[in-house]
C-alpha cells in the first residue's frame, strides 16, 4: 500500500476557485446519473482538466504539474481511493485554508456529505457480502488491530507510451474514430469510442492550456535564456496538438502530461519508448549529450515533484526491447541523470540478463556505489521464467514484466495486478496462538481455531495458523474481484483504457472486459517474523520443551516484562538469514503456504486471471508491526517487523553470503514480486569492488531475482553506535582483520568512526 503527502499547501489555485471546480465536478456527476459510465466520467474529467494542472514553475523545462483536489476522479488518489475519490485528509486540509469563507465552508461540508456516500470506495464497501464485512470490520489498516485489510485503488497501471508517441494525440484520435466507425458498422455500442475521442480532445486542450501559459510567462520574463526555454516549451506543446512528437523534448513533454492526467503512478520501460527520440536528436546534432542530460534531469525533477515515493518507477534494460543498442544508450543516460539529480524519485530500476551490454551493469554499480540506492537490479534470467509460471503467460509477455510501486510485478500495459489487500501474517499467528483473539485486548480478530495450551503437537499449531491465513486470503481475493467489478460499473478509466492492450480492440473499458489480464495481488507482511516465531516455538515448546505454551503466552502477553530470560531464549533460537537449515526451512514453509493459498483462489472462479502474493517493502511492515503484540521470535510488542523477505534487522549475523543463500531459498516463481535489501559499506564497495561484483554475480546465478543495494556512509556508522541492534551485520575493516562493527569495543568503534571515510 502506499500513500503520498498531498501537497495542497502548494496549490496555486485560490480556495474559491477550488470550490468552483469541485462544485462543477459534482454537478456534472449528478447531471449524468444513469448514463454510461464513460459518459459520466468524461463529463467529470472536463470539469477537472485543465483546471487542476499546476503552474509552470521557474525551473521547469516541461509543463506538467498537478494538484488533486479532495474531490476528484483518478485511479488512485489521496491516501487511498479509486475512481471517484473523496479524501478525508484532503478535505480537512482544505478547511484549514485561510482564504475560505463561512459560506464556502458550509457548501463544502455539503459536498463532503454527498461524496462520502457517492465515492467509488463507498460503493465498493456497500457491496460487501456479510462474510466480508465480518472479515474486514475496519478499513483503517494503519490504526486498527486486525489480521487483514482491504485497500481501495487501481494501481500498477502501465501505459503503452510507445503507442502514444508513435501516433501522437491527433493520430490516436483518428485511430479511435476509425474504431468507432467499425463499431458502428458492426452495430456495436460506440459510446466508449466516442468518450475516448472526447478524452483525447481534453488532452489536446490541456496542451493548448499550457502552450498559452508558456507564452504568457515569456511576456513577464526578461531573462533571455529563460525566454528561449519557454519558447521551446510553447512550440513543443503546440506541435503536440497537431501531430506526432518530433523531438526528444516533445516526447518527454507528451509522456509527462498524459501521465499526470491519467493518474498512473509508474512509467514502465522507458528505454523502449524514449530511446529512439534521444538517439535521433543526438545523432542528427539537434541536441548535445549535455542538453539531453539536462532535459532528462528536469524530467526527473518533475517526476520527483509529485511525491510518489512508493511509485514513480522507471524501468531500463532487459530482454524484449526491440532496438537494444539504442535502448542501451538511453539506459546509460537515465542512470547518469539519476546520479546527477539525487532525488528520491524516479525509482530507477535496471533489468539485466546474461549477455546484456556489460556497460549497463558497470554504470549501475557506479551509481549505486555513490550511495544513490538506484538503480534497483532485476535479474531477467530468473524473473522471466518465474513470471511465466506465476502469471501463466507465454515467454514474450513474461519478458514484458514490469515491477512497480514497492516491487509488485505486472505485464507491461497488458495486465493489472493491484494489491487490494494486506495481510499481517504475524497477527494471524497471534490469533492462532490465542484462539482467534488479540493477545492484548482479547478482541476477536480471527477464527476460533483452538487453544495453544491444548495443541499437543507443533503440527496442530501450524494448522491453526494456516486456517487463519487461508480464510483471510480467500476473503481478500473475493474483495478484489468485487472491487474491480464495482469500479468497472462506476467508471471506464478512459485515459488508462486508451493505452492498455485490448481495450480499444475489444471496444471495452479497462475493468469491463477490456484489459487482457485482470489480476490481483495481496501484500503479505511479517512473513519472516512469523517463520522465526514458528521456529522458536517448535524448538522451545515442542522439541526441547523448555517453555510450556502457557508460559510462552504469558511472556508474549506481558511483552516480556518479567520474562527477560524467556525472551533471550526466543532470541537465541535460529533465525532466517543465516543460511541455517532449520530457520530457512520454516521460512520456505511459510512462504510456500501463503503463496499457494493465494494462487488457489483463481480455481474457485472468482473472475481474476491471477491472484498472487507480493512480498514488498514499504513502511507497512513498521505500521502493521505497531499493532502487533510481542512475538515468539523475541520481537517486542508494537515494534517493526522485518521488511519483505529480508531477515529481521540484526538477526543475520553470519555474513552477507549466508544471508543471500537464505534469500534464494524462497521460490520466486509462485508470487508476483519480492524485494531484497542489501546494505554494503562504502569501503566494501570501493576497496573490494571486484569481490562485490563476484558476490552479486553469484547471488544472481544462484537464483537471486532482485537486489536493492544500499551503500553506507559514515552516518550509518554513527547510527550503528546508537542503535547497534539494527546494524549487527555491518562489517568493517579494523586493521589486519575485519569485524562486525557492533561487536567491537566502544573505543574501537570510535577509532574506526574517526578515520577518514574513503
Amino acid at each position: 500500500m502506499k500513500f503520498s503527502p498531498v501537497v495542497y499547501s502548494r496549490m496555486k489555485l485560490s480556495a474559491p476557485r477550488q470550490m468552483e471546480i469541485m462544485t462543477a465536478f459534482t454537478s456534472a456527476y449528478r447531471a449524468s446519473e444513469g448514463k454510461h459510465p464513460a459518459i459520466r466520467e468524461l463529463a467529470c474529467l472536463w470539469e477537472q482538466f485543465p483546471h487542476i494542472l499546476g503552474m509552470i514553475e521557474p525551473e521547469d523545462i516541461f509543463a506538467g504539474r498537478i494538484f488533486h483536489l479532495p474531490i476528484c476522479f483518478a485511479p488512485q488518489e489521496g491516501v487511498l481511493g479509486i475512481g471517484y475519490c473523496f479524501s478525508e485528509s484532503g478535505a480537512a486540509s482544505f478547511l484549514l485554508r485561510s482564504d475560505i469563507t463561512e459560506d464556502m465552508r458550509g457548501r463544502f461540508h455539503e459536498l463532503c456529505e454527498y461524496w462520502r456516500k457517492e465515492c467509488t470506495q463507498f460503493r465498493i464497501r456497500a457491496a460487501y457480502s456479510r462474510e466480508m464485512q465480518k472479515a474486514f470490520p475496519s478499513d483503517d489498516w494503519q490504526h486498527a488491530a486486525g489480521i487483514a485489510f482491504p485497500l481501495y485503488r487501481l494501481s500498477g497501471t502501465h501505459l503503452d507510451f510507445l503507442k502514444l508517441l508513435r501516433c501522437g494525440l491527433p493520430g490516436l484520435r483518428d485511430l479511435i474514430a476509425r474504431r468507432r466507425d467499425e463499431a458502428e458498422a458492426k452495430q456495436e455500442d460506440k459510446t466508449f469510442c466516442d468518450c475516448l475521442c472526447g478524452m483525447l480532445d481534453l488532452v489536446i486542450l490541456s496542451c493548448r492550456y499550457y502552450e498559452e501559459m508558456a507564452a504568457r510567462e515569456m511576456e513577464t520574463i526578461t531573462n533571455l535564456k529563460r525566454q528561449k526555454e519557454l519558447a521551446a516549451m510553447r512550440d513543443s506543446l503546440q506541435r503536440l496538438q497537431t501531430g506526432r512528437p518530433r523531438t526528444f523534448r516533445d516526447a518527454i513533454q507528451l509522456v509527462l502530461l498524459y501521465w499526470i492526467m491519467s493518474g498512473s503512478f509508474n512509467l514502465g520501460r522507458m528505454d523502449t519508448y524514449l530511446a529512439d527520440f534521444y538517439a535521433h536528436d543526438l545523432d542528427s546534432g539537434l541536441i548535445t549529450q549535455q542538453e539531453a542530460l539536462r532535459l532528462l534531469g528536469n524530467f526527473w525533477k518533475m517526476l520527483g515533484a509529485l511525491h510518489k515515493e512508493y511509485d514513480t518507477r522507471v524501468i531500463i534494460g532487459g530482454r524484449g526491447r526491440p532496438n537494444e543498442p539504442v535502448a542501451d544508450r538511453f539506459a546509460l543516460l537515465a542512470m547518469e541523470a539519476t546520479r546527477c539529480v539525487r532525488e528520491v524519485t524516479p525509482q530507477l530500476m535496471l533489468r539485466f540478463y546474461s549477455g546484456q551490454n556489460p556497460a549497463l551493469m558497470e554504470k549501475a554499480l557506479q551509481v549505486i556505489g555513490e550511495g544513490r540506492t538506484y538503480p534497483m537490479l532485476y535479474n531477467d534470467d530468473v524473473n522471466i521464467p518465474a513470471v511465466m509460471k506465476a502469471f501463466n503467460v507465454p515467454y514474450d509477455e513474461a519478458a514484458e514484466y514490469a515491477p512497480f510501486g514497492c516491487g509488485e510485478y505486472v505485464i507491461h500495459h497488458k495486465g493489472i495486478g493491484t494489491p487490494s489487500g494486506v495481510i499481517n501474517l504475524l497477527k494471524a499467528l497471534e490469533a492462532a496462538l490465542n484462539n482467534g483473539h488479540d493477545l492484548e485486548t482479547g478482541a476477536l480478530i480471527g477464527l476460533e481455531t483452538g487453544r495453544f495450551e491444548e495443541f499437543l503437537t507443533f503440527h496442530e499449531l501450524l494448522s491453526a495458523y494456516k486456517t487463519q491465513v487461508e480464510y483471510f486470503v480467500h476473503q481478500l481475493a473475493l474483495q478484489e474481484a468485487l472491487e474491480y467489478e464495482v469500479a468497472g460499473r462506476e467508471a471506464a478509466f478512459l485515459m488508462l483504457s486508451l493505452l492498455f492492450d485490448d481495450c480499444v480492440g475489444r471496444n471495452r473499458p479497462l475493468l469491463s472486459g477490456g484489459v487482457r489480464y485482470l489480476g490481483g495481488t495481496v501484500e503479505t507482511y511479517g512473513n519472516i517474523n512469523t517463520s522465526d516465531s514458528l521456529t522458536a516455538i517448535r524448538q522451545l515448546v515442542y522439541e526441547k520443551r523448555i517453555l510450556t505454551p502457557s508460559r510462552m503466552l504469558e511472556a508474549l502477553k506481558a511483552d516480556f516484562a518479567g520474562f527477560e530470560k524467556e525472551r533471550r531464549l526466543m532470541l537465541k533460537a535460529p533465525k532466517y538469514g543465516n543460511d541455517d537449515p532449520c530457520a530457512d526451512e520454516m521460512a520456505v514453509l511459510v512462504h510456500e503456504h501463503v503463496c499457494a493459498a493465494a494462487r488457489e483462489q483463481i480455481l474457485s472462479g472468482i473472475g481474476l486471471h491471477s491472484y498472487l502474493v507480493v512480498v514488498i517493502n514499504n513502511s507497512a511492515n513498521t505500521i502493521l508491526g505497531l499493532n502487533t503484540c510481542a512475538s515468539a521470535d523475541g520481537r517486542r510488542a508494537h515494534t517493526f517487523m522485518a521488511n519483505a523477505n529480508n531477515p529481521q534487522p540484526g538477526a543475520d549475523i553470519n555474513g552477507v553470503t549466508a544471508m543471500l543463500n537464505s534469500l534464494v531459498k524462497l521460490d520466486p516463481a509462485i508470487h508476483a514480486g519480492a524485494v531484497q535489501n542489501m546494505k554494503l559499506s562504502k569501503e566494501m564497495f570501493t576497496v573490494h569492488r571486484d569481490k562485490v561484483n563476484a558476490l552479486l554475480d553469484t547471488y544472481f546465478q544462484n537464483g537471486g531475482a532482485q537486489a536493492m543495494i544500499n551503500v553506507l556512509s559514515r552516518g550509518d556508522l554513527e547510527n550503528a553506535i546508537k542503535t547497534p541492534e539494527l546494524y549487527r551485520s555491518l562489517i568493517v575493516r579494523v586493521g589486519g582483520f575485519s569485524a562486525r562493527f557492533v561487536e567491537l569495543q566502544p573505543e574501537v568503534q570510535q577509532e574506526i568512526l574517526h578515520r577518514t571515510m574513503y
Binding site: 527477560e564 530470560k565 533471550r568 531464549l569 537465541k572 543460511d579 553470519n654 555474513g655 552477507v656 553470503t657 549466508a658 543463500n661 566494501m684 573490494h688 571486484d690 569481490k691 563476484a694 558476490l695 554475480d697 553469484t698 546465478q701 544462484n702 562489517i731 575493516r733 579494523v734 586493521g735 589486519g736 582483520f737 575485519s738 569485524a739 567491537l744 569495543q745 573505543e747 574501537v748 577509532e751 578515520r755 577518514t756
Partner: protein, 302 residues
C-alpha cells in the same frame, strides 16, 4: 579417520585472508605467545570460558549452575570469574541468557568444517576465493589440517593456510601439495626480540620459509607491525631483504597493530602485556613510503 580439532570461529565472506571471497576457519591452539595477539583465546588448544563483563546483568544464574564455584558476586554485585576453577563444562554459558558467558571453541571433524565451508562454494568460484585456515597455529593440529585440506582439494577449492611456520619441517612437508597459498607471518627479525615477544626463537621459522620457497610454494609475507616494538627501519629493512631474497617483492602485506586483543585477554582472565597505540593513517602511509624506498613498492596494508 583423523582427529577432530577445536574450532573457535568460521568466518564467511572473509575478504582479506587470501584472494577472492573466502571462508576462514580458525583452529584453536598455538605454540607461540605473541604479546600483541589479536585473539588470545586462540592460544590454548582446549575450549575455554569467555566472560564479557559488559553484557553481564548480575543475575547470578551462572553461579547457580556451576558446581565448581567458578562464579562469585561481590557485595557490590561485581561478577568475579575464577578461571582456575573452571572445567569448561559449559553449564554457566547455557544458563546465561545475556550471552555474557560463552565457551570459545567446539570440537569439529574436518568433514563438518568442510560442509560449512562448501555453503559458499559458488561465491569462491566466481571470485577466485576459497578456504583459508587460520588459528591459533593451524600447523599445530596437523592431522586435522591435512584431512581438511585433502577434502577441500577433492572439492576443487583454492586453499590458503595462515601460519607462523613454527613447526618441524617434517610436519610441514606433507602440506606442500595441498596449500595453494601460504600466508606466512613474519613477526620480528631480531632473534632475541623474537624470543622475548613470541616465546620462541625464529631460526626454525626462517629455515622453514627457505625450504618452502625452494619447494616452489606460493607465499605472501604477512608482517604484523606493532608500534614501539617492530615499526623501525631495521625490521623494515629485514623484511625487504627477505622479500627480495625470495622473490616476494610483490607479496608483502603489513598488518597494523590493533588493541583488539586487549579486551579479549580480559575476557579469559589473562593479563595483557603490552601498551601500544593503534597506528593512524598517516603513519601507515609513512610505512608504505619506507618500503618503497627499500625497493618494495605498493605494499598492501590490511
Amino acid at each position: 579417520m583423523c582427529a577432530a580439532a577445536v574450532i573457535f570461529d568460521i568466518q564467511r565472506f572473509s575478504l582479506s585472508d587470501g584472494p577472492g571471497i573466502r571462508t576462514t576457519v580458525f583452529i584453536k591452539g598455538c605454540p607461540l605467545r605473541c604479546r600483541w595477539c589479536h585473539n588470545p583465546e586462540s592460544q590454548q588448544f582446549a575450549p575455554q570460558l569467555l566472560f564479557n563483563a559488559q553484557a553481564c546483568s548480575g543475575c547470578g544464574a551462572c553461579a547457580d549452575a556451576c558446581a565448581r564455584q567458578a562464579h562469585s558476586f561481590s557485595q557490590a554485585g561485581v561478577h568475579n570469574v575464577h578461571f582456575d576453577r573452571c572445567i569448561v563444562c559449559g553449564k554457566c554459558a547455557d544458563a546465561c541468557v545475556y550471552d555474557a558467558l560463552r565457551i570459545a571453541g567446539r570440537e569439529m571433524t574436518p568433514g563438518q568444517v568442510l560442509d560449512e565451508v562448501l555453503k559458499d562454494r559458488a561465491y569462491f568460484l566466481s571470485s577466485g576465493g576459497g578456504l583459508t585456515v587460520s588459528g591459533g597455529e593451524p600447523l599445530a593440529s596437523p592431522g586435522f589440517l591435512l584431512e581438511l585440506l585433502r577434502l577441500a582439494k577433492a572439492d576443487d577449492l583454492h586453499t590458503c593456510v595462515e601460519t607462523s611456520l613454527y613447526a618441524p619441517w617434517q610436519v610441514i612437508e606433507p602440506f606442500v601439495h595441498f596449500v595453494d597459498l601460504w600466508l606466512v607471518d613474519f613477526k620480528l627479525s631480531d632473534d632475541n626480540q623474537h624470543r622475548l615477544y613470541t616465546g620462541a626463537d625464529s631460526r626454525l621459522i626462517l629455515e622453514n620459509l627457505s625450504v618452502l620457497v625452494k619447494s616452489r610454494c606460493n607465499i605472501v609475507l604477512r608482517c604484523p607491525i606493532i608500534p614501539g616494538i617492530n615499526d623501525h627501519q631495521a625490521h623494515f629493512s629485514a623484511i625487504a631483504e627477505l622479500a627480495k631474497r625470495y622473490g616476494l617483492e610483490h607479496a608483502v602485506e603489513l598488518m597494523p597493530y590493533h588493541a583488539m586483543g586487549k579486551g579479549k585477554a580480559a575476557m579469559i582472565g589473562r593479563a595483557y602485556l603490552i601498551e601500544a597505540e593503534s597506528p593512524q593513517n598517516g603513519q601507515k602511509e609513512q610505512w608504505r613510503k619506507a618500503f618503497e624506498l627499500l625497493g618494495i613498492p605498493g605494499v598492501s596494508i590490511l
